[in-house]
């Protein structure tokens, strides 16, 4: 018999957690009950699997066991006149259970519930990682640098609001879908970005969060194959992530795209990302994530970088989703095509004084124009506002390289 260590059981549960919780939320009508039931199934698996061996369908086993344990538990509690348990039991008996109880829509429903705009963004992110990603409260707390009790309380409050305010467990109607889908994609991209350029802390990259976001992106693509922006987001994350190894030097310092060792780029991720971008072009329903993916696809091509095309893509993005941040990134492309003077005039019009990136872009343009004193001041402003130690170190080195 194959040896089945506890770490392997933990890994399987982590991988199947979202699916199992999603089914059980539908069957039990309650997130806490669903989580408890899956936890019960985990305990049962740790007892049974090492001796009995891995079941043919671990996901099916987890769901069936969790459901049975939950019903046993509810029967016990309902007989003690617990009205909450009685209500849940009633819900359970009326919920359809097909085969192993897996309805393809369940995880999609759960994503839309977790990313409901009536919840705060931080709660949406935490719930998505907890319920769909299967991350523990401790892991999420660690990733966002908050104490575990704070994160636990955030999750409890969010689940309480879902229950008490009646946030539905349902894929939104056609009319609501574009807005609601946008909220879901924003949460996944936020998780990715937090993993890619941690807004605070000592490490530039938190790979676990980026990997989780890509996993969620793949899941969404599987669940909503006909939504071009879902594909666009996945391609964007793959292409950005393909440069992860080259983005930091061995000592953890930030390396700019132009200075990166391209041999360290992940060709597999680049090819997968590019293929999705090509597919999006064929579908011809452009959106902001697809365009950002296309920009990154251009960056992933050989040297010299086609800045004219990148500038055109930013023009298109700015027309579609106007924001000062997009305008700032466009200005970086303008600097390459029309020179730093033209770019600086564009940057100076933007009201982004709070953002370290704004000051960093200004500093670089001023440096290229030979205006070192102004560049130094802009680097100082950027250093003051950067929350991430690697980014601060990078800016300090650039500042130190100036002739003043």
């Amino acid at each position: 018999m194959r040896d089945l260590p506890a770490s392997e059981i933990t890994r399987i549960f982590r991988a199947e957690y979202g699916r199992a919780v999603a089914v059980l939320v539908r069957v039990l009508g309650d997130i806490d009950l669903a989580e408890e039931a899956v936890q019960d199934a985990f305990t049962a698996a740790v007892e049974r699997w090492p001796a009995a061996g891995l079941p043919p369908s671990p996901a099916g086993w987890i769901i069936t066991t969790a459901r049975n344990r939950a019903i046993d538990r509810l029967r016990r509690e309902a007989s003690r006149d617990d009205r909450h348990a009685q209500a849940a039991l009633l819900h359970t008996s009326s919920a359809p259970i097909e085969g192993e109880g897996v309805v393809p829509d369940d995880r999609l429903r759960l994503i839309f519930t977790c990313c409901h705009p009536a919840l705060s963004i931080s709660a949406q992110v935490a719930l998505t990682l907890r319920l769909l990603g299967g991350l523990s409260t401790a892991e999420i707390a660690h990733a966002f640098l908050v104490p575990e009790p704070t994160m636990a309380q955030r999750l409890v409050r969010a689940k309480g609001k879902i229950r008490d305010a009646g946030i539905p467990y349902r894929v939104p109607s056609e009319a609501e879908l574009p807005d609601r889908l946008h909220a879901v994609l924003a949460v996944v991209y936020l998780i990715f970005n937090e993993g890619y350029a941690a807004s605070s802390g000592d490490h530039l990259v938190r790979e676990d969060l980026s990997a989780e976001a890509i996993r969620l992106g793949r899941l969404l693509t599987e669940l909503m194959p006909d939504e071009p922006e879902v594909r666009g987001l996945l391609a964007l994350m793959l292409l950005v992530d393909s440069r992860r190894a080259a983005r930091t030097s061995p000592d953890g310092a930030l390396v700019l795209l132009a200075d990166q060792d391209r041999a360290q780029w992940d060709d597999e991720l680049i090819e997968e990302g590019r293929a999705i971008v090509r597919d999006c072009l064929r579908r011809d329903q452009p959106g902001p994530y697809q365009i950002q993916a296309a920009i990154n696809a251009v960056h992933s091509e050989g040297r010299p970088t086609d800045w004219v095309q990148i500038k055109q893509l930013y023009d298109q993005l700015l027309g579609m989703a106007p924001s000062p941040i997009v305008a700032l990134h466009r200005a970086v492309a303008v600097a390459e095509v029309d020179g730093p003077m033209t770019a600086l005039a564009l940057v100076d019009e933007l009201d982004l004084g709070q953002h370290h990136v704004f000051h960093a872009v200004r500093a670089d343009l001023l440096r290229r124009l030979g205006r070192d004193a102004e560049a130094a001041a802009a680097y100082e402003a950027a250093i003051d506002r950067a929350g991430n130690a690697s980014e601060r170190d990078f800016l300090r080195r650039r500042r130190a390289a100036l002739s003043i």
Binding site: A87, D164, A165, G166, I167, P168, E176
Partner: protein, 115 residues
């Protein structure tokens, strides 16, 4: 079905011009009719200014009566509607219509369940 309270938050200061207010009242009437015919309407009403309020509180076994309002603020509860809705999304659909008619911030809040 759950009950939801849709509260209208009004800023302190001069009220809108009469013709603007007229339009708002017409839109509100129209929305209330729509809510009734959809079977979601439970109750609605506009409130008088907070300086017309009186506060009562138990103090050492006696009820103390003072001039209100209970809490001074830059915004106050201007009016409210109670609706019956299947879930938050259904309540938010009506809340959005109210926010468009009034047009002031609307707080949508569920009543506590009485099982």
């Amino acid at each position: 079905m759950k009950h939801y309270l849709l509260s209208v938050y009004q800023p302190e200061g001069t009220p809108p011009a009469p013709e603007v207010l007229n339009q708002i009242m017409q839109d509100l009437d129209q929305l209330n009719r729509e809510m009734r015919s959809a079977g979601v309407w439970v109750f609605s009403g506009g409130l008088n200014h907070p300086n017309t309020a009186t506060v009562l509180r138990l103090d050492g076994g006696e009820i103390l009566t003072t001039d209100g309002p209970f809490a001074e603020g830059k915004e106050y509860l201007g009016g409210f509607t109670i609706i019956n809705a299947a879930d938050l999304d259904a309540a938010l659909v009506w809340g959005r219509k109210l926010a468009q008619a009034v047009p002031l911030p609307i707080e949508v809040r569920p009543f506590a369940d009485v099982r």
